[in-house]
């Protein structure tokens, strides 16, 4: 790709942009300038590691916001933001029954921006659950699960379950009355399953009530197990969208 589409002219802005964007370091990162021709715009999408999730061009109904309401994208955005804020929370949080609550309380009072990070993580988690539901509804009501997208709908259902599981495991971590009782209620439901229930409960709690063992299990699932699985399924989800010929539209 060409480095620049325009020859540098006189004037302060041009001088500035020359110094800022045409130096050795900048160009070692970004090989090209702003892609201003259709050819370069397609190339940038096809060659950039992040953008190449997309096709280079797409049908114009799919750019219209009212077709998708960006809901899948917003869910993904929440997932990414939750990873960032979650990592910050991990710096200060120790998953032990006698510390967890104090750590979260300290986050609110002793740590700069701690409260903001916790709030963001909490509200975005709720946001992700809502947006994944809405995304499912939009896919359903636009009939976008129809052939050849059956399997991607199934991948979506798995992602929905994973999203709920992520939220559920995270709910315990503040170790306050809200979290421990919500999880107790949830686990009691799981414990009533015939045949497998008790074992399942024991497996998740590591004991008979929500205690230290449960906290460390939920924590591990929440910060690495489930996000990893979710990320893999998201990769499959996005890949399948491309393989199925982009988003669904009338035949």
């Amino acid at each position: 790709m060409a480095v620049s589409e325009q020859p540098p002219g006189p004037g302060l802005t041009n001088w500035l942009s020359e110094k800022l964007f045409h130096n050795y370091i900048w160009r070692s990162i970004f090989r090209s300038g702003y892609p201003s021709t259709p050819r370069n715009q397609m190339l940038v999408v096809a060659t950039n590691v992040f953008l190449h999730l997309h096709p280079t061009r797409l049908h114009k109904t799919h750019v219209r916001i009212t077709h998708t309401y960006c809901l899948g994208g917003i869910t993904f955005f929440f997932f990414l933001s939750l990873t960032v804020t979650g990592v910050m929370l991990m710096f200060y949080y120790v998953p032990a029954a006698d510390r967890a609550f104090q750590d979260v309380a300290a986050l609110e009072t002793n740590i700069r921006f701690g409260m903001l990070m916790r709030n963001l993580h909490r509200w975005m988690a709720h946001g992700m659950v809502i947006s994944v539901f809405l995304h499912m509804m939009r896919v359903f009501y636009t009939g976008s699960y129809k052939p050849p997208r059956e399997f991607n709908w199934l991948v979506g259902v798995i992602l929905l379950t994973l999203t709920l599981a992520l939220s559920f495991t995270g709910y315990l971590l503040p170790w306050d009355q809200l979290s421990i009782w919500a999880v107790t209620v949830g686990m009691n439901m799981a414990g009533t399953v015939p045949v497998m229930g008790q074992q399942q409960q024991l497996l998740l709690l590591g004991g008979f009530e929500v205690g230290d063992a449960a906290l460390i299990r939920f924590y591990t699932l929440h910060v690495i197990g489930l996000p990893l699985i979710a990320a893999i399924f998201m990769a499959v989800h996005f890949w399948r969208i491309r393989r199925d010929g982009g988003l669904a539209r009338p035949l």
């Binding site: 114009k60 009501y141 439901m189 669904a248």
Partner: protein, 328 residues
């Protein structure tokens, strides 16, 4: 030949693809721009929200102090609501699992291409959505109100104005709430004494509920003629023993209340709903039917969540939202 092939291919590439191309936009800048704006808007919105609204943090966890009510996270509150009305395994695990399985099965049930890629793509889609949404919401609310039994208080109050001693008649117990079928309802039918085999009283009457609480399961090893009686299957591995219904007797009234009636309602109501819409001439394809079922499921989930989160107070009693106690 060569000339022909060229004519065909040049025609193909000259007409159809071009029309396709004209419908297409470039991802950069058109889509990337929308994505960027959406990301910015949401970052901004949530940072703003987070500076204004703090995440809750109650007292430190303590398993000795049970908050009343203790509720699950809001997206599980719908299941918690179901627990109040049926067997916990059915409401908390089996029904939701089947629900999820049905959602997953839609593409395999509805394999047609009608309405693909357009909002509400079939002619009657909007009507079906409104009808099934309303149908599911109304019946969910009605069933919850029935099972809560508030109408019993209201009617008792009204009737007691003229007749001080009036009580809800035992014969009508099933109309109080579903649990009353098991606990508040008594009737008996005469049977020959010789036909009464069970462990209950052999008094020539079959009494509900007492004579129905210990009905032996078939092949439970401890009932029936001699050849059907045997010891516990200790030769099996433990997990298999746990699955075998040795010495199990069925509590029929509990079974009817906790499993049979709820399952029957959850099966029959959707069927009636679909049949009604077929009668109305709205449902012609699997797609139409799927829209009805999906919308109904979403509506039930939504209503259960609203009621569970906003209308359940201490002891999971049905109260107005402002009477739901704050937990700390």
């Amino acid at each position: 030949m060569a000339v022909n092939a060229q004519a065909v291919s040049s025609e193909a590439s000259a007409t159809r693809p071009r029309r396709e191309r004209e419908q297409e936009l470039l991802v950069w800048p058109d889509l990337v721009f929308v994505e960027f704006i959406a990301a910015m808007v949401f970052t901004f919105m949530f940072v703003l929200l987070s500076t204004m609204l703090d995440a809750p943090l109650l007292n430190q966890a303590n398993l000795d102090i049970t908050p009343n009510p203790s509720k699950a996270a809001w997206y599980l509150v719908a299941l918690q609501e179901l627990l109040l009305h049926m067997h916990p395994a059915l409401g908390g695990v089996i029904a939701p699992t089947i629900g999820l399985a049905i959602i997953g099965a839609f593409p395999y049930i509805d394999r047609s291409n009608d309405g693909q890629g357009t909002w509400f793509g079939t002619p009657n889609a909007v009507k079906i959505i409104l009808f099934s949404g309303a149908f599911a919401s109304i019946f969910t609310v009605a069933l919850i109100l029935y099972d809560q039994g508030r109408h019993v208080n209201v009617i008792t109050n009204v009737v007691q104005r003229s007749d001080k001693d009036w009580q809800w008649p035992g014969k009508l117990a099933p109309f109080q709430n579903v649990r009353s079928i098991q606990t508040g309802w008594e009737w008996s039918i005469p049977v020959p004494v010789s036909a009464q085999l069970g462990p209950g009283e052999h008094d020539g009457e079959l009494n509900w509920p007492d004579d129905f609480t210990h009905v032996p399961m078939p092949f439970n090893g401890t009932s029936g003629p001699d050849w059907m009686r045997w010891g516990p299957p200790t030769f099996l591995p433990a997990w298999m023993q746990a699955m075998y219904w040795y010495d199990l007797n069925m509590n029929t009234p509990a079974f009817v209340v906790e499993l049979f009636i709820p399952v029957a309602i959850m099966v029959i109501l959707p069927v009636i709903m679909i049949l009604m819409m077929r009668k109305l001439g709205w449902i012609h394809t699997m797609r139409d039917g799927s829209i009805g079922i999906f919308t109904g499921m979403m509506a039930v989930y939504f209503i259960l969540t609203i009621i569970g989160a906003g209308f359940r107070g201490a002891g999971q009693d049905l109260v107005m939202p402002w009477d739901v106690p704050h937990i700390d």
